[in-house]
Symmetry: D2
Subunit: 482 residues, 4 copies
């Protein structure tokens, strides 16, 4: 997979050179002006979702707010797709191409934070937008509506679609939506993610399967008759042991990690229930399938040796992202046309104060938010349910600097910045890049074809096949305490 | 330890034969009449505590109610002993002998139950009196006050004392009270426990040490940099494994059981905290000390192998009960003088309905509540903080049939019966037996001497030594969720 | 099972008292005189077997020597029974009753020892008779031949039979012979065992199942491609772990112990073969069956979790001994008629020198060899393939003091003494007791009936069922290095 | 470390192009002619060592043969260096530069093989030259002697030295020789290794630390008193478990593998001795040091948790090879000057027959032995005690095609071919390349300086520090059975 990337790498600088000198065409300049006028409105939308801070599959008010904007703009809305109350998509226009934009909006447990450069929870222990999904959904909403207005005004054919995708953080919303087929008629999917830099991506990440393994034993008084009991915790321990012994015998890029979510109720009783929550990851889904099958054997072995019963509930199953070189180049082009994020003196003061709380390291420095980074080819060790979409439709993701350079995802710092003007500026930039790139695709069918060709080549005949069992329902309560 | 029991066994039937023909002396008959008059009042007290249903160390209202009765009767109350808000003792009288009566009053989590013969929680998930400690504390209170009135009226010298001992269920209230020395000046301790039969005991149980082992590691992203993390869960797993390997190499009567109370927070992060809660038991405390030292080594090994840090918090440490043959014989004598529990037709109906919900087995049958069982010599696999008291002062425990025959402790059935007239009848019987036996001791110093001689012989020079570290505070929040 | 023993215990002393005054009848005195005349010859036989020191299933010369004596005495010999080259039985006479006497003759690896009271191997690392089976087989041979001559002379009907049973030490020779049915037509089986005391036994021991679990994986270079390998050692480790977790959940009298007989060939290669050798024991075979089934599940789980293949070879499977009160009483009677073992001054010096090498303890003291101990009711933690015989035929075992009091089996001390006159004196006493008891049975059919009645009562309907799979061959090479 | 390699990669093809057209200078042509004349003699030497097939530290006859050739050629021999009977070095000449050539000669257990293209042991179970060290030592001997004659004839100053280095296969001969300082005055070390291709190397391999961990417990009868025993096998199991849990938390390129070399003597006895043999590898020694320290902690934890005692014996400790770009380029030059290996019809038939027994794969095909491969930059997952030498002196290794293309090391195929003319042809080529390259260095001091500069740059200040404890003796008996 590296070779194509390297070829792209060589080709792109030439484009950059050209891009650097490029000007925004006049009609697009008008679009951007309109978007600037509407920026504060969508900043407010993002701030409301930031305040809602609803966790996966519970994003009722957040998704409603995004839908109301789309509805007002004339989009037709398909609600509760894939049996998920907060999953939806909104379409406008007719015929081909169908260009989709993804929007996420779920918050993270325990990351409640004020919009200030010191760690302070708004509500102690409550969820917060530590991954900036309030910005993510709002920018995509903003972009879809802006594209619609441009298409309408210019009478350009095709369909613009917004996908409201819940529970990215471990709940796998897109995976259930993908299984329901809602991406099948789409030609291109564009997406983005909040970050500490402006950058197009042609890298990948890790495929990921996660499940809860539940063991059911037989209770007994642990002192009076331990021989009468069959311990579900023993099964969990033995499964864990077996997985540890397996580590030597999987490819070294594999990642397997677990926690014990229920380790027995009382020391005085042989535990008749115990639960282990296990993730496995690998850069390729077919290889991961084989590794996962062996983890299931470890769980079965735990049950067999302890005379307990095992049940597995698949929680998540995300493909590694299949990148798209054509779309990444288009993103990069538009990022360079528009340039980075510039702070006001107040924002600069905020950023400097926040920077002092970050771990010093090799990361990006303050000021880099004004620049556009080179296209990234990194294979990230994270996973995302965007992966599944990317094996169905040519898909690309880019980042904008919504966070102070050096900020990590899932931190109080990202939660803080996602709730104030720095995050909102990055969000507006993202909306513009998404809109510009979508319009490039609407107006240049050859780009759509090229993206599809790149998709076919990279996919190399490996059709998407959902790893979620046919009878499995979305884990709508996966964030509830057991 | 068995031989003295067998000798006692042979001696006792002769006493029984005599007892069976004995009559309650006239002055005691008067006492019993007064107690009958006051029985409903203490039934109400027990019912209020049943409704409070407060768990260990949180028994604020329950202990206050018992104290208010004692205060009204003229007892002097020492509050908050051993730094425990709900521990107290109440004394009346002067000089020797000092006869103590123990009272417990803590409820059990999750055993909320209506006073009906079908399983139905009063408040779903709430605590309930599944071990009848509402009756326990109330009967002992009742007995102490009755003894005081008798002593006062007859001007008999000596001190009657009530010990309000919280958190028996795993919290070890008496262990901290014992460490504080509150039993040291006591000559005899009498106690009882709700049960499904009337019986004096000269058996024992298991010494018990319990602790939470907490491991502190180093968090890291489980996919991106697992090599940077040090897993506290790994330490828990290895400690567990080590304990399992130890099982072969301890005396077979040993019991070791544990649960994992914290097995990591998120599969995606190398757990930097994990906790295991471990019990060990054995019929002798010195042997258990040696076993426990090896369990601590297993925990240290878990930390050593994983480069994590271990902290142990001792939760409980109960001696095995040292029985007393003299006191047991006295209890047995008074039980036989007073006879068992007789049901009204309504109580009989309740008992029959409840019996249908019990596992059929070899246990006692309906009707046996009317009888007095033979003195028990069983070594029970349970543990109790009465054990520590029994190695400081000659101590004896008896049971009355507060529960329908066949009922187990810690069941909804025992919770139900502890909240209605059957339980209250058994409780009144217990109060009478305690009072009668205390008065026997106050009026016959030779019995006190004999009980002490038996104590010295059984203890065989093994002085009590609290296993709780000097700097450890009572685990006042041991019932809180981690 | 304890109650009948206690009853017996009370009854027996009365018999002893009578026995102590008893005299050997005249015709038996003649028998004993003849046996004294032949004692040195069988001492020589035993010494030759002591020098052969052949391990289990390899006792070619030892069994041949015993057979040659029997053949010379007119016995008919059935060789190679149960497909075992060194297993045989020898019969003389006709019709009922058929009285069998067992003889063992296998040595123990690594116990080569000179017949001196200091530890010194005859051949370093070679086998030796550390369990005195050289005496065992010789005394039984001696007894059978003496019985035959008596029966022939007196024309007493019935059949005397000697069973040459190889590989008692872990190889289970009698188990395979039992499966072949060679004990089925026997009425009574008498046996003995060398010991440090003279004693009849009515106790039992532990049923025992043993097997080698072999795991087959897939080799791979452990550094270059560990992911391609499937480790048989991992399977062994996981099976071991699973067994350890099981320990808490079996009755406390269970014993499970294992070694790893093959833990991989080279660290640099993922082991494609590994082997674990596991024993399980319990006082009852049906309970042990259930425990064993769970051990097999642990082995299966080890294979399942590691994608290896498991094969189990049952090595041994011995019932707990079913004692016989009638036969034990007869043994005891004859032991007391004959009295213990008396040392010459040289033997006394040997015994004193050897005593100094023994661990001081609570065991029997020098001089006790002259006495007859009370009948033993102990449940020993050892196991023996005599167990299987005892569930088919009424069987009893007694001991004579072939070893210096305080000597343990399987020690160099027992090997030394088994090779000199002290051992040989004990052996002659054993031969006499066996012969006398056999003749008691031949001449008093009521005793045979009583022994059978006791057998039926103790067996309580549990028919013998060999635990060895029908297609399993005797492990003739179980003493070979893997 | 990759960047310099890539630069070299670009530079080298230009040299190749030049080399391809180069001619052997006249005086060297004379040398080569002399070597051809002597080739059969050294083929015979190699065949004798092949027949000796002596394992590590037992190579008495093999080393003596090599020494006798050197002695005859006028070399001064230093015997028994580093307290190793079979380690030596032989020097000729005076002053600088000192150019060393390494020679190995130890065989591998179990690889005895006839010199035929079918698997057939010469002596079943005996050692064999499956890694071709018979050729290795002989070619290096041959080269050193040839260089000496050239230097003597041409009166070129400097010292040629042959290092006879035993026990490369796991015994670490060079590591002990390095600790003894015998490489310290050397300027350059040249070496080679039998292979299935002709190739210079600028790659590396893995640093490796290996040790036996021995645990000492307390024996006890496993059925009668397992609580009295402390199991050394339990300690081994727990150490193994701990190492498995560690795998997640080391860098993914780490390799840890172990076998259990002693898992207890008898199932019936709590094992008082057990042993585990563990390897750890990583591409960098300082990182491996940290990993190894954690493995030692796992071993300590195993002992701590089981109350056993642990002793570690370091067996081997090899640095990763520090390659040298200058020397590799010189080797490549001379390989190309001399060309590959050409088979006779008989050899071709042998090679074809043998090829059929090889796993078909992506490896080199028959015929490739005639070619010179490109310089290899691979990081091999093997380890070698050449690593230590390479951090003391600029060192380079090359390969010649002594084995049929596709043959793996440590196979019967390599053992077979190492004993016949194909192996001997490759060996002569190796001797010529070594001699030519040594002479290049003797005659061009700038090359020595350039090699030293490359060495200093790659070593980057990391001085060699032997990992073998000061008081540790060479494990002269590491090949003996425990």
């Amino acid at each position: 997979m590296k070779k194509p990337f390297l070829i792209t790498l060589i080709a792109i600088p030439l484009l950059f050179a050209a891009a650097a000198r490029a000007q925004v065409p006049a009609d697009r300049a008008d679009l951007l002006k309109k978007m600037d006028a509407r920026a504060q409105h969508f900043a407010d939308v993002s701030h409301q979702i930031w305040e809602f801070a609803e966790v996966g599959y519970k994003e009722v008010r957040s998704s409603e707010l995004l839908k109301s904007e789309l509805r007002a703009a004339g989009f037709q809305i398909q609600e509760k797709v894939a049996d998920i109350p907060t999953a939806f998509f909104a379409s406008w226009g007719q015929g081909k191409p169908v260009i989709g934009i993804l929007g996420e909006f779920d918050a993270l447990p325990g990351l409640s934070q004020e919009a200030i450069p010191q760690q302070k929870a708004r509500v102690a222990g409550a969820p917060g937008h530590g991954c900036g999904h309030n910005l993510f959904g709002s920018a995509s909403d903003f972009a879809a509506i802006s594209v619609k207005e441009y298409l309408a005004e210019k009478k350009i054919p095709g369909t613009i679609r917004f996908y409201g995708t819940p529970a990215e953080e471990g709940g796998g919303g897109k995976i259930y939506m993908a299984r329901a087929g809602v991406f099948n008629d789409c030609d291109i999917v564009l997406t983005w993610h909040p970050a500490d830099a402006n950058r197009a991506n042609v890298g990948s990440n890790l495929a990921n399967i996660t499940a809860k393994f539940r063991f059911y034993g037989k209770p007994a008084h642990a002192a009076a008759s331990p021989d009468k009991g069959r311990s579900a915790l023993d099964a969990v321990m033995l499964m864990g042991n077996a997985v540890e012994f397996m580590r030597e015998h999987v490819p070294q890029e594999t990642r397997i990690h677990y926690i014990i979510t229920n380790g027995g109720a009382s020391p005085n009783t042989v535990p008749d229930f115990a639960e282990i929550y296990c993730y496995a990851r690998y850069p390729s889904m077919p290889v991961l399938d084989g590794i996962w099958a062996r983890i299931v054997k470890c769980a079965q072995a735990g049950a067999l040796a302890t005379e307990t019963r095992m049940e597995m509930e698949l929680i998540n199953s995300a493909y590694n992202v299949l990148p798209n070189g054509v779309l990444a180049t288009m993103f990069d082009h538009n990022l360079r046309l528009l340039g980075g994020v510039h702070y006001t003196p107040e924002e600069q003061a905020f950023a400097e104060a926040l920077s002092k709380t970050l771990q010093p390291g090799d990361g990006l420095k303050l000021g880099s938010q004004e620049k556009i980074q080179e296209i990234s080819h990194d294979v990230s060790y994270a996973s995302s349910d965007v992966g599944d979409v990317s094996w169905i439709v040519p898909t690309a993701e880019m980042n904008t600097a919504t966070w102070v350079p050096g900020t990590a995802a899932h931190s109080w710092q990202s939660a803080a910045t996602s709730g104030m003007s720095i995050g909102q500026k990055g969000m507006t930039l993202a909306a513009k890049v998404l809109a510009m790139t979508a319009l490039d695709l609407f107006t240049d069918p050859k780009q759509v074809q090229a993206a599809k060709a790149d998709f076919d080549k990279r996919r190399a005949g490996n059709e998407y096949k959902s790893r979620v069992p046919a009878d499995q329902k979305p884990p709508l309560n996966y964030r509830d305490k057991p």
